[in-house]
Subunit: 78 residues, 10 copies
């Protein structure tokens, strides 16, 4: 399995709508509202052969209220 994180910057006041929409899709293993530059942080596990870029495009980027996303891939769990 591949584990990666996506940080989401949402339009003003939309963070919780986006979080709910994301949670309802039951794709992320964890979704948090967070402090700092981004509003949300989501964690995903996908099969090794899944194209992460495409996955984010297809499953996140169509949610209304997202301004931009930043994907962090994990290489190894210690």
């Amino acid at each position: 399995m591949q584990c990666f994180f996506v940080q989401l910057k949402t339009r003003l006041g939309r963070a919780y709508d986006v979080a709910d929409a994301l949670a309802r899709r039951e794709l992320a293993s964890e979704v948090y509202s967070t402090s700092g530059e981004y509003d949300l942080l989501a964690k995903f596990y996908v099969e090794d052969d899944v194209d992460v870029g495409h996955f984010v495009n297809q499953n996140l980027h169509d949610i209304d209220g997202i301004e931009r996303t930043y994907t962090t891939l994990t290489f190894k769990a210690f």
Copy 2:
């Protein structure tokens, strides 16, 4: 419990030493080497009354090889 994430930028070539040192301390619930601007991402759960800033200072900042850290607090899990 409070859940928060810490991203760590390490000196060139030291990421895996720092990750091992962090893992040995068994304070983080998860530690990953990652792509992007930071080298490592660690997830922590602490009691609600714990001062997160102090926790990071006391338990991470003394590990040799760290250049800087960025703490992201979670407000709510969805």
Copy 3:
């Protein structure tokens, strides 16, 4: 109680309308117009179990004239 600060960048010429609107809501313990990158600084005290992100979303982000906000959480008062 949790104490946190919110810095607000407003649209050109709207800082004082936003400050008045914020003050009228009597949620912030202090509201200042300030120098520097942001236009306003507000200080809040909320119960420990309050989700700060949600609080900011619900109580600030609907005020007209705000461009963006930056939340700074306090860990400990010395």
Copy 4:
């Protein structure tokens, strides 16, 4: 009276030493350890004729462990 805030970035692991040193000087009305880019936030009230720049230089900048400071002046309290 003039009210202003100073955010302090400290060297790695020194935030709480600096906060204690600052608190002991009893110049700040409030001192917090904080999340985000800076480690500490301090609030000051000084007489109107006090030169804030000089005040910060004389009373903060000699504390060991500070990397940089950012002063935010308040124009008006709402």
Copy 5:
């Protein structure tokens, strides 16, 4: 008296309209078109009790053609 400077970034090609409008208001002691990131630099003297933020909001921000402004306060003249 308080002395402060305001740097103005104007929309493309509007710098000299904004400068003329500013000069006609006879509020600034000096107005220059400048090199660098900003297009104009204006210097102001106001009474000590004047709220600089409000002054800039009321007297500059309604001039058409301004993209953003950056206020620099002076603490002391040497």
Copy 6:
């Protein structure tokens, strides 16, 4: 005559030494300690044929305590 401004970032705690040194040289028409990213702002008038870059190099850059400087040239006074 050419009029230009130089903003100076000084090492921590050195702003007022640098300001005094600059004032003693009686080259600047005005020297201020300031809020914001830079610590000092100085204004100069020099003959039209003076090479401003060289002037700054020769007359400012040898003052101990300066980290960096940013020169803003004025094109026209309104």
Copy 7:
């Protein structure tokens, strides 16, 4: 032959449309979706006398969905 790389930032959710459009034009020797600040990375070989700036303008910039591009020229292959 000249070898150069172009990184492409696309509008939210459009990365794979742009990649397909680019691939169909059969101008790039390689096209990848990527992690990090940009969404796509394309590699090109063109004749030495080709004006790379013009090439990018003519052959990439008319593809719908591109926000901005960054061209990296190679000087030498080792």
Copy 8:
């Protein structure tokens, strides 16, 4: 004579239109399309008493397709 350079960032795909328009005005001594953050670089010689800021405003900023410009003044030729 004054010599200065202007770097121009153009809207996506418009660099060569802007360059042609600029060349047709026969004001610049040299115009290049370039690599890097900006798309074009133009070099100008004007009389010593010419207000460079105004010159750029009047002669460049009305060309359609320009996003922003950055003027670099030369102090001395070696």
Copy 9:
């Protein structure tokens, strides 16, 4: 196989030493000196189960003359 790119910023004047050292290690499929913010660009193919972060740490970061590196992972080749 995983394909990824590494951009390298080297200390002043060391780019070609680093490039030669990298080429001699015969780990990269391509190594270029490049224009722009970074000095070198290297392309790697490794087995799917290879930890890219560790690979970069072990095989690049010990080369003398490197200031920092930026790894870009490819998700899919079009």
Copy 10:
């Protein structure tokens, strides 16, 4: 012939030493001290087969007093 520009940031107070050293090498067609983020701007013409990166490394980067350089390549002269 290839035409390219190099902007040079020098250590504080060293701009004119570096400019003189560069001029003495008679490699640049033009060398200017400049306003803005960089201190010097130099223009070069080299044969088409010359590796620009290597040229800058070999002929500029050994001059004492340079902090960093930024190379801008020209694609086409209009």
